[in-house]
């Protein structure tokens, strides 16, 4: 067990330090030139550390299949977000300290992936949240951004208090904070009523991160208020942190217990509410916000199933989720003029103005629907089959009917891009930036056509939790 097994975390911490130095130096230099490459190296580091196993800090910090899988995803997502942000040459707020806060948040999430003790988990969660509290209002002198920031903080503080309160119940009932210890005990309401209430409250903290109904109210407002690049980050990477913890916690509750039923019901309500609300949105980021509420609901299918297949489906789906959302936000950032929020109308005629962007948007939208052969379909198939196998038939029916609802607004994106007419000028981007976006779209397709390698990784990760 050497220090090198922590390479992904250390590399990102090094980045944070480098960005800190850059932000206090007198020269107003742009970090956009080297940051994406450095973050890309972080992905390589995470890839090398994929097989690392071990325990640190009195077994409170554990490297296992799940943590290493999610570290890879977080490193990848962070690299893509910096890549997207690097393309925005006019962004005045994209200063070194902006990126420092971004990296710090990603670092907190990486730690979160490895935490197997409730207090450590809570600390890592807050570490990732605090930098977001500062990031979201960073948008020139925009009042909406300030409003979004306040909403995020207030909501976050309230939910954190709730989670801590739940944590106290769990400690009182179970006398341990180690997940391995908690997993060994019974979680039915009849045996441990206080612990079940505590766990439910504790989960709420992560539902908030994931924007699951009824903790989703911040989500569309924050996406809309925050900078496009910030929204791309908030919409993707923090969700990974929430999923990894939920997978760890859900692994020790069996299907059809009270906690699991709550997960299933919240999932069903969340996808329905998210999809119905998204139907009427005009602002692209708001639309994607509600769509992510719906997707949080889909992930619950895997968590409620509680089986190894369900866990690996949830892990795989979060990979698919960040890929297709990053592709969608890439287009949002690329078509935004002067850092404004693009609306559906701004997509009109995109097909003529920027064919490559239109194609990337179409791939992302069809993947968000869950149409084959995309990553979104593969992920959804795994979730559905895991949930059906555990007897959640009604949940599967709700989920597939939701696909039918959601198709309308996702297709709306493609419809505006391909059949809308517009006199707006062509959008020109350097070739490298388009290839970067194209690579995202290709990855979405590739993961849908050949899901086996990544699914096996996810299954391996989940198998350790659920022998």
């Amino acid at each position: 067990m050497s220090i090198f097994s922590l390479l992904p975390e250390l590399w990102l911490l090094g980045l944070v330090c480098a960005l800190f130095v850059a932000s206090i130096s007198d020269k107003k230099q742009s970090v956009a030139s080297w940051l994406p490459a450095a973050a890309g190296l972080g992905v390589l580091a995470a890839l090398f550390a994929l097989g690392e196993r071990g325990e640190f800090l009195y077994a409170a910090y554990k490297l296992d299949g799940l943590s290493q899988f999610f570290k890879l995803l977080i490193a990848f997502g962070f690299a893509v977000v910096t890549g997207i942000a690097a393309g925005n040459k006019e962004g005045k707020d994209l200063t070194p300290d902006y990126f420092m806060l971004l990296a710090l948040s990603a670092w907190g999430l990486m730690l979160l992936a490895s935490c197997v003790e409730l207090i450590t988990l809570y600390l890592a969660l807050e570490l990732s949240s605090y930098s977001l509290y500062a990031l979201i209002p960073l948008r020139g002198k925009d009042r909406r951004a300030a409003e979004a920031g306040i909403k995020y903080i207030l909501f976050g503080a309230a939910v954190t208090a709730l989670a801590l309160f739940g944590l106290s119940y769990i400690i009182a009932a179970k006398h341990t904070t180690y997940l391995s210890g908690l997993a060994a005990t019974s979680w039915s309401f009849a045996d441990a009523p206080m612990a079940v209430i505590g766990l439910t409250l504790f989960l709420a903290g992560f539902f908030y991160k994931l924007a699951l109904f009824p903790f989703h109210f911040w989500c569309p407002d924050v996406y809309q208020g925050a900078k496009n690049e910030t929204a791309a980050y908030v919409a993707t990477i923090p969700k990974l942190g929430a999923v990894v913890v939920l997978v760890r916690l859900a692994a020790f509750v069996a299907p059809h217990l009270e906690v699991t039923t709550i997960l299933a019901i919240l999932g069903a309500v969340s996808m329905t509410a998210g999809n119905l609300a998204a139907l009427v949105q005009r602002d692209l980021k708001r639309l994607l916000g509600f769509s992510s509420v719906a997707h949080a609901g889909y992930v619950m299918l895997g968590l409620a199933a509680g089986s190894a297949a369900g866990m690996s489906a949830a892990a795989f789906y979060s990979l698919a989720y960040i890929l297709m959302n990053l592709a969608a936000f890439y287009v949002v950032c690329a078509i935004a003029k002067n850092d404004e929020n693009p609306s559906l109308g701004d997509l009109d005629g995109l097909y003529k103005r920027a064919p490559a962007l239109a194609m990337i948007l179409a791939v992302a939208a069809f993947s968000l629907v869950g149409l084959p052969p995309t990553a979104g379909f593969a992920g959804k198939l795994f979730l559905l089959s895991a949930a059906w196998d555990q007897g959640y038939h009604w949940l599967v029916i709700v989920a597939v009917l939701n696909t039918a609802i959601s198709i309308y607004y996702y297709l709306g994106l493609v419809r505006h891009a391909y059949t809308g007419e517009s006199d707006a000028p062509a959008i020109v981007w350097p070739r490298g930036y388009l290839i970067f976006g194209g690579a995202l779209a290709v990855l979405v397709l590739l993961l849908g056509i050949l899901p086996a390698p990544m699914y096996d990784l996810a299954a391996q990760a989940a198998g350790q939790l659920h022998p």
Partner: protein
């Protein structure tokens, strides 16, 4: 990958258009794009020739190809051809070059993308017909929606936005429950493999719900009356090649689905629902015919006639007799040839007159004899004139109907008479009506247009005069499906006079020997 015949025929048929589609994106000149796609189309036809070596009395599935896809969940890449799918695959391959030829001048904008869509359509349609893994089938089934949506939405008529959205929403909403059924079959049957699922038998209660979920998806695709409303809109707005593909191939996926999944997997539920589906089919035949009689738009008329023709197909399927089902499959092929030809001709006419109204295209017999000759051939075929292909199919279906229940036969006959009425009315007006808008610049059929239509015209007579060849090829597969279905129902204890409550109590029999025998002949 494991292949049965050495050369992976089916995979090649799917991969070649996909590779060509990617290659087209790098071509600049329109002419190169058209010629390349045409060449790929001809290559497709040549590649599909080995399929003619299908042995009717051989294994249940031939040209089988199998490879691992996602072993953890039991998903495999599994392709194969049997009598139900053989002709559909051949028809799909044939349609590609004809569509390219038919749109040579019709499509003037975004030429590259148009041909990419055509190639993607071809690949996914062949995939639908050849897939022997349930997930693989669903992948192709849904993947086909996107290029078809774009064909209508980008190159369509004035109301294309409405029509394309309606098409997409309708078909996608229908097939979402199909996905739930697939997942459910995996839990009950333990696999996604279609041949393995066919060997097993399921409790009635499960069959009941699975049948409903699958039938909804297929009925919308066919489309069966009352789910047909997307079809006229989509047909009218789609460009000529889009209409041809829609009529010739897409609609067949629904009926193919009934044959491939509903009958073998949920035999008891199919038996239970058959009276309802027969009634709906007859309603569709009569309704489609009546509405077609009142149309002034030629494309709309043909679109509604499709509803009627597809009614004959679903009627034939749910008669559960060899005659009925072989008539249905033959009718699937015939409808593809005939209606495909008609839509292609309307496209050519539209290029000349820029109108689809009958009134604007009257009295062309004198000026465009070659055009009217072919139009007449397809029209007569559409009304099932003896000597043409549709006659054979329709007669077989009607024989099947009269054998089963004469009342069903009597109810369907007016549909055939209605078809004669609306087609002859159309033919008479277009050929001998008062010339309204004819201009000498229109010209008769050119060489390219002949090339696009002649193969279909030849097939009309070939199948019409020598249908035995086709029927012989498909009959063993049909017998197999029907006998397995009957064996399963008998093993389950299903009788015709059982009440619904009694049926719901039927459990799955442990094993049905005949089912296992029939399907596991896959590798001789």
């Amino acid at each position: 990958m494991m292949t049965q015949n050495g050369f992976p025929v089916v995979t090649a048929l799917i991969v070649v258009p996909l590779v060509a589609a990617v290659a087209l994106l790098f071509m600049r000149r329109e002419w190169t794009v058209r010629v390349t796609t045409l060449a790929v189309g001809i290559l497709e036809c040549l590649l599909s020739l080995p399929l003619l070596g299908y042995v009717p009395d051989g294994a249940a599935f031939q040209f089988v190809e199998k490879a691992d896809w996602l072993p953890a969940l039991g998903m495999t890449y599994h392709m194969g051809v049997d009598g139900l799918s053989l002709y559909m695959i051949l028809l799909t391959a044939l349609m590609l070059p004809l569509c390219v030829l038919g749109s040579w001048t019709y499509i003037a904008k975004r030429v590259t993308e148009f041909h990419v869509c055509l190639l993607l359509m071809t690949a996914s349609c062949i995939g639908v017909f050849a897939a022997l893994d349930f997930v693989l089938f669903y992948v192709f089934w849904e993947a086909m929606l996107v290029p078809m949506y774009l064909l209508i939405a980008v190159w369509g008529g004035p109301r294309r936005r409405y029509a394309s959205i309606k098409f997409f929403l309708y078909t996608l909403a229908g097939s979402t429950l199909l996905l739930a059924a697939i997942v459910a079959f995996r839990q009950v049957g333990g696999t996604f493999s279609i041949p393995e699922l066919m060997e097993k038998s399921y409790a009635f209660k499960f069959q009941f719900w699975a049948f409903l979920a699958m039938a909804l998806a297929f009925a919308i695709k066919v489309p069966m009356f009352p789910f047909h409303t997307w079809l006229p809109a989509a047909h009218v707005e789609a460009p000529a090649a889009g209409s041809v593909l829609l009529a010739a191939i897409l609609l067949k996926m629904g009926t193919y689905g009934f044959l491939r999944f509903c009958l073998p997997l949920t035999p008891a539920a199919s038996e239970t629902f058959a009276p309802l589906l027969i009634a709906v089919s007859i309603a569709g035949i009569i309704y489609g015919g009546c509405i077609a009689l009142g149309q002034t738009d030629i494309k709309k008329l043909i679109a509604y006639s499709s509803v009627g023709h597809m009614g004959f197909v679903t009627l034939g399927i749910f008669l559960f007799s060899v005659k009925g089902v072989s008539g249905a499959i033959l009718q699937m092929l015939n409808h593809g040839i005939t209606t495909g030809g008609l839509f292609m001709m309307i496209g050519l006419l539209y290029e000349r007159s820029h109108s689809r109204e009958i009134a604007d295209n009257q009295g062309l017999g004198k000026f465009m004899p070659a055009f009217m000759f072919l139009f007449g051939v397809f029209s007569l075929s559409s009304l099932a004139f003896p000597g043409t292909n549709s006659f054979v199919g329709e007669v077989l279906v009607l024989i099947g109907a009269f054998q089963g229940n004469p009342w069903v036969g009597f109810a369907a006959v007016p549909g055939a008479m209605l078809a004669a009425a609306y087609m002859l009315r159309l033919l008479q007006r277009v050929t001998w009506g008062e010339p309204a808008a004819y201009k000498p610049s229109w010209g008769d059929l050119g060489l390219r247009e002949w090339a696009a239509l002649a193969p279909l015209g030849i097939l009309v007579f070939y199948i019409g005069l020598a249908p035995a060849l086709c029927i012989k090829t498909i009959e063993p597969s049909i017998t197999r499906v029907l006998s397995v279905m009957e064996a399963k129902n008998t093993a389950m204890g299903l009788t015709k006079d059982m009440s619904m409550a009694e049926r719901f109590n039927l459990a799955a029999p442990l094993a049905v020997a005949e089912a296992a025998d029939a399907v596991s002949k896959e590798h001789p």
